[in-house]
């Protein structure tokens, strides 16, 4: 039989609000209520004030240090104006943990200056020229080509530059940051020679400028691509002198070792590898350099024995290659499709 529950009798219910329990809860509650009494109130003026301060700081930082035309970090597309520049380089893939700074992803001038170690000890004699006085004037009122380049329109910047005069003319009056902008313009227009000229001026005239280490590194990359191994080695060595603790110091030395090995200069290779081992005991390429040097040394000794048996002045045996023609480990890997080079990225 069913009962209508609306007709339930009124039960006396138990009261749980005993003074002990109420006191117990209050002991837990009181500290929280007391602590929150100031901060949790709508009268608390600090919350909107803090929001305004944070927002204002963000606006200030954005206006001061962030370029409005900067390439989005997560963008899947490259800016069209820089596409041409990207085609200039046959990049080596980056080794794990190595900062990879392709030219199209290089930060702005202001950003480039940060994070680069200051030049310390200069080993090679340096001829320092006084910076052109016009660079100071140029900084106060940036020319049209510079403004366009800063906005990412390198083609328009090149046109504006040609309208004002020649590229070489601008080289003579530009400051270090402007020279780096000229490098970008030259690379975007496919002129490696002009880019190299601008970079050489940075490392020659503005060696103390914050842009100099990066200029040396970039110069090494461009000369390496152009096949000027000696010039590239000198540029990498200069980078290491200008920025011994820089991001690319290990890679620069590795490139020098590569160059020395590919040229067959075993003495220089051994010295550079020893330096690499000393400065980067856990370097990525250390083992490979050692084995490659040992292999080449054995081959050189074998060739020496053959030469001595054949007699001085004889023609080399058929099939025997000169050491110089053999690529260095890094070179060999980077030139082979599908290879995974460990040497430095460009």
């Amino acid at each position: 039989m069913k009962t209508r529950l609306r007709d339930l009798p009124r039960f006396p219910l138990r009261d749980h609000g005993s003074p002990e329990r109420v006191d117990r809860i209050w002991r837990r509650l009181a500290p929280e209520v007391g602590a929150r009494s100031f901060f949790a109130r709508p009268q608390a003026w600090w919350a909107p004030a803090a929001l305004v301060a944070v927002f204002g700081a963000g606006v200030f930082v954005g206006a001061r240090w962030v370029r409005p035309d900067a390439t989005p970090v997560l963008s899947a597309e490259r800016p069209p104006a820089v596409e041409a520049a990207a085609g200039l380089q046959t990049q080596r893939p980056s080794a794990p943990g190595t900062p990879n700074v392709p030219p199209h992803a290089q930060p702005s001038r202001r950003m480039r200056a940060t994070g680069v170690a200051a030049p310390s000890l200069t080993l090679a004699p340096v001829v320092k020229l006084a910076p052109p006085a016009s660079s100071v004037v140029a900084a106060s009122s940036p020319p049209e080509w510079e403004r366009l380049a800063e906005a990412g329109d390198f083609e328009a910047a090149r046109v504006a530059l040609e309208a004002k005069g020649t590229f070489d003319g601008a080289l003579g009056t530009a400051s270090a940051p402007q020279l780096m902008t000229l490098v970008d313009i030259a690379r975007a227009s496919g002129s490696r020679e002009r880019a190299v000229a601008a970079l050489k001026r940075v490392v020659g005239v503005f060696r103390d400028a914050p842009e100099a280490p990066l200029a040396a590194w970039t110069l090494g990359n461009l000369l390496d691509q152009a096949g000027d191994e000696n010039g590239a080695s000198e540029a990498y060595a200069l980078y290491r002198r200008l920025s011994p603790g820089g991001d690319f110091a290990e890679d620069a030395l590795a490139r020098e070792v590569d160059s020395a090995l590919s040229q067959g200069n075993l003495e220089l290779s051994a010295r550079l590898i020893a330096q690499y081992e000393n400065e980067f005991p856990n370097g990525r390429s250390l083992e490979e350099f050692r084995s490659e040097l040992a292999r080449r040394s054995e081959r050189a000794q074998g060739n020496a024995v053959v030469d001595s048996e054949l007699g001085a002045g004889d023609e080399p045996a058929p099939g025997s290659e000169p050491a110089r023609s053999e690529p260095a480990p890094g070179k060999a890997r980077s030139d082979e499709p599908g290879a995974s080079p460990k040497t430095a990225p460009k």
Binding site: K2, T3, L5, R10, R14, D15, H16, G17, V22
Partner: protein, 212 residues
Amino acid sequence: MPRSPAAATRLRLIGGALGSDVAVGPSDETLVLRARENDASATNAFEQLYRRHAGTALNLAVRIQGSTADVEDIVHDAFVRAHGRLGELREPAAFRSWLGSIVVRLVRTRLRRRRLVAMLGLASAEPVDLDAVADPGVDPESRVLLAQVYALLQTLPADERIAWTLRYVERHRLESVAELVGCSLATAKRRIARAQGFLEEHFVSPFAEEEA
């Protein structure tokens, strides 16, 4: 069953939970306004509010849940929330029902969480503690009846269970149920009706044989 006057004052007949206490001292409105001030007296005013309504909040939580599990945590959290949102209370005189709605929301959250945990097999269903709901002096027949009601309520969705409990255990008016649950009057009626239908369908009177 005869009861001492002291015991009688401790008991609440169903329906008196949120409306029978007589406030002594400043009104809720006065205390809320004072508690909103940013000075030392604010905490004192809030403590008065707490001591005035903590018992109500405890009873409400126990009766909806059917047990005393975690009720102190629920009441503690309810007053912490109430304190943090005191500025949002548009009618300071309605503090009591506003606090009740906070308690109901917290209990509903806990009920749903417990049900989910039980469904996943991570814990057993929480048993009804009849001693927590009914006064120890309630006669055995009524205890059996109440036990059956709470056992059936446990199988209902939390919203329907809460609405029915507020209406028929706490004896709130429909408008008050809607306000406490935070829904429209029509929704409250619908939930109560669904729960009522379910209970009437499955409820078996313990006095059936006698009635027959």
